[in-house]
Symmetry: C2
Subunit: 189 residues, 2 copies
Amino acid sequence: MRVLGVDPGLGRCGWAVLERRGGRVAALGYGTIHTDGEEVAPRLAELATRLRQVLAAHRPEALAIERLFFNANVRTAMTVGQASGVVLLLAAEHGLAVTAYTPPQVKQAVTGSGSAPKEQVGYMVKALLGLASVPAPADTADALAVALCHLNHAGLAGTEAAGAASTEADWLARAAPTSPGLARKGGGR
Amino acid sequence: MRVLGVDPGLGRCGWAVLERRGGRVAALGYGTIHTDGEEVAPRLAELATRLRQVLAAHRPEALAIERLFFNANVRTAMTVGQASGVVLLLAAEHGLAVTAYTPPQVKQAVTGSGSAPKEQVGYMVKALLGLASVPAPADTADALAVALCHLNHAGLAGTEAAGAASTEADWLARAAPTSPGLARKGGGR
């Protein structure tokens, strides 16, 4: 299972490609695509170009995208919507299965709390993936987190072989001894 | 000057291609793209496919798009944003110059009042373009209206030859004797 996680945005769009290999999760690539300028259309084109490069380089099978929080303001919703429209279009055109997660779902999956602060998400992403440092900017950490969230949910929902679901619980238990709530959710073998 | 007008939306996306030919404006094509279903990504892909067909058939040079009203709710802003993200991406990828207009600007341009009701917009679009009937659904009428708005603004802003700007005032005056406010704005020869 290889998943592209995206935290959509026009100015900063976080992305991460994770792959589950047996009981481990490998980060194949991650980063944040920055665009700026007055005109929205060329920025969306730049975002699409960069995302197509990511898709071509890593060939993920699924997209996990962070869903907008409905307490956002209308202007934020509009620009996040524009960026997510481009992300979803590319996903459809590349045949990726799409799942959206709310910010609390993502936080719950990686920290055990749906209301964890941003720093805690970054810290846990680093710990779960064995990274050398906390990914920055936060958009990158959020993209890694939504991809991790998807690997967790995909395993639990039984869309993977039963063995994969329990080895996923294994890797979470191994990688994150401080997050028992999460590891427990996977169930035992 | 050939312009694609778009009233963006996920369920219904109005489009219209207008061309100024001397002192007249011709409607080359217009309609509303409908998409439905639970999943957003395939709907955006369908929207993109249909819009690419419009772009290939009519080869407009410019995009005029209706800008979201900021009194919209967040959910509306999100889905309109997603659809407009796709529209703007295609515009950039096809080299179209993009201009956004607010609903009051569009209403002002075709009815002389920024707060005109929807029916009045439909009525004036029919009158200005000499159509056999009021375009339906309203998304189609709104797309025609934003394209008309752009032809009006483009002429007034002097981005066309001076002759075109004044012949534009001429066609508005000829086509819309009931809309003196609009016709006057163009200035006389």
